[in-house]
């Protein structure tokens, strides 16, 4: 009550002129606040994804929709006229028969943006800090990397998506109109190519696409100078063979009429090669030993038939088990790997040795020595040839 009386006394003491001034100041401030809010409103509206992710759930919004539009240069009086950041579908023209609104120009798509004023050339750099848990069966791996985007003019608000993976951590380190730096940690997958297994080289790919802007607004360019592996980069069990990066213009099969806009996709590839020494000792040496043990049986005479048979049959079991163990570590493929071809040669050689032994039961006993002799001189060269064929083919 006391405070109310104090306020009432204070107001009574105020002159009418002062009250008028106070009222004018409050109204002026209110006007300025409302005007500022209206000016900011279009940039705060989330942009609708109309590109690669339109119609599907976005995996990550690396550049959040609430990101302030890079309008700062345009606001400066001395700066050149900046590009338009309005929503292109809003000013697309509707035809007389309704349907999909279109634009005039190279792309008719309602998501093309002729008013943007030409594409921003964006240099894409990537520093791969770490690759963990590479699983060749699934082609899956976890990557930790920095992504830099540097452009010659302000970039439109972007919505980065990862078509071949998902991101668990997306940290925006820098976000300026012409420079952006992100750190991502995520899981990705690339189909393995096992034709040359165990001398295979796998490419681990990280694909990045801007979901919001077509090539009429953003032109991605791989930045060779700023694409690197971190110091001490190493993937256990693999030798780093190469890095490569490219940009492809991605065209969607028509989702609607005049869906003719291309979207740029950045693809980074890390080449990992299996160690040659490891491949030789884990695949070729055991296969050769199996064949050589079986080959030695060809020198055993008929009265050692049991020993001779034991040098081949158990080797067949060993070969099958060995082949099975090899294939357990790999996904099923529609083609033969080099290891498969080697094992087929091993099976063929074991069959040959078994067949030579069975010749004793086909021919008369008087031919026993001849079968032993010819078995050696025909079987041994064929074995070597078969093994070489399995290794080289």
């Amino acid at each position: 009550m006391k405070s109310t009386k104090r306020i009432a006394n204070f107001v009574r003491k105020l002159r009418p002129g002062m009250l008028l001034w106070l009222f004018a100041v409050i109204v002026g401030l209110g006007f300025l606040i409302i005007k500022g809010a209206r000016a900011q409103a279009p940039d705060e509206q989330p942009r609708s994804g109309h590109g690669a992710g339109a119609g599907r759930k976005l995996v990550v919004r690396a550049s959040a929709s609430a990101e302030p539009a890079p309008s700062a240069p345009a606001a400066s009086a001395s700066a050149p006229q900046g590009p338009s950041y309005e929503e292109p579908v809003d000013y697309a023209t509707l035809g007389p028969n309704g349907g999909v609104p279109t634009h005039e120009g190279r792309f008719k798509s309602p998501f093309s943006h002729p008013r943007f004023g030409g594409p921003a050339t964006v240099q894409v750099g990537l520093l791969l800090a770490n690759v963990r848990d590479y699983d060749i069966q699934k082609g899956a791996f976890e990557a930790d990397f920095f992504l830099s985007l540097t452009s010659d003019k302000p970039m439109p608000p972007m919505d980065l998506v990862f078509p071949n993976g998902k991101v668990d951590l997306a940290e925006k380190v820098a976000d300026k109109p012409t420079f952006k730096l992100y750190r991502f940690i995520g899981s990705f997958s690339s189909p393995p190519d096992l034709h040359a297994y165990p001398f295979d080289t796998q490419e681990l790919r990280i694909e990045i696409e801007d979901d919001d802007n077509g090539i009429d607004q953003i032109r991605l360019v791989p930045d060779e100078e700023h694409t690197n592996l971190d110091v001490g980069f190493h993937v256990p069990g693999w030798e780093t063979a190469f890095i490569r990066a490219r940009v492809l213009s991605h065209y969607f099969p028509d989702r609607f009429k005049h869906d003719d806009l291309y979207y740029g996709r950045y693809v980074f590839g890390l080449g990992l090669r299996r160690f040659g020494t490891s491949a030789v000792f884990t695949v070729y040496v055991p296969a050769a030993v199996i064949v050589l043990i079986s080959l030695m049986g060809l020198w055993l005479p008929r009265h050692e038939l049991e020993v001779r048979a034991n040098s081949t049959t158990p080797m067949l079991a060993a070969a099958v088990l060995f082949h099975f163990a090899l294939m357990q570590a790999l996904p099923a493929t529609a083609y033969l790997t080099r290891a498969d071809k080697l094992m087929i040669a091993v099976y063929g050689i074991l069959l040959l040795h078994m067949g030579i032994t069975w010749l004793w039961f086909v021919f008369d006993e008087s031919r026993t020595e001849a079968v032993l002799k010819w078995g050696k001189w025909v079987g041994a060269p064929l074995t070597i040839l078969g093994l070489l064929g399995g290794i080289l083919l």
């Binding site: 791989p222 060779e224 694409t227 690197n228 592996l229 110091v231 001490g232 030798e239 780093t240 063979a241 190469f242 890095i243 490569r244 990066a245 490219r246 940009v247 492809l248 693809v267 080449g271 090669r273 040659g276 020494t277």
Partner: protein, 160 residues
């Protein structure tokens, strides 16, 4: 008697061959200094450790390396400036991890004994080529495993 003697000779020859395979070799080359940064300094501002980045200008491709040296190396190297081409002495040696590695032992007449615990020194050995598809350059590819041309000019880069 002849057979055991033959076996001994063969084993001895194999041992020599195996030992010889892992023997270190030394090379000389010239490099261009691209960055000289003191990492740690003492109270007087004199560098205690220094990073030197250089380019292997006599080797094909873009081969960069950073080595870290101690205070004597830093003091000695202060006579050079960026862009200078200086001679280096390289040792190619067998690494217990199962590959060949190399160390720069001397740069521009300044001794730089490599520290086995040094994790700051590193190299980016790569040979890059444009990636062309349908006649258009769409990106690049950098081979990290040295190509034959590089190994012919600078054999210490061979790891296997």
């Amino acid at each position: 008697m002849r057979t055991p003697a033959l076996v001994v000779v063969v084993l001895a020859a194999l041992s020599v061959a195996l030992l010889g395979c892992k023997r270190s070799s030394w090379y000389q080359s010239n490099v261009e200094l691209t960055r000289i940064d003191p990492v740690r300094v003492d109270d007087q501002g004199k560098p205690l450790t220094m990073d030197v980045e250089f380019s292997w200008v006599e080797c094909p491709g873009l081969q960069l390396e950073v080595i870290r040296g101690g205070k004597d190396f830093a003091a000695c190297l202060s006579k050079y400036k960026l862009g200078d081409k200086v001679p280096v002495r390289i040792e190619k040696h067998w690494d217990e991890a199962g590959f060949w590695d190399w160390d720069v032992h001397e740069m521009g007449g300044c001794a730089r004994p490599p520290d086995p615990d040094d994790e700051a020194s590193f190299d980016t050995i790569r040979e890059c080529h444009p990636w062309v598809i349908n006649g258009a350059t769409v990106g690049f590819r950098c081979n990290i495993i040295p190509e034959k041309k590089l190994l012919a000019a600078c054999p210490w880069f061979g790891r296997y």
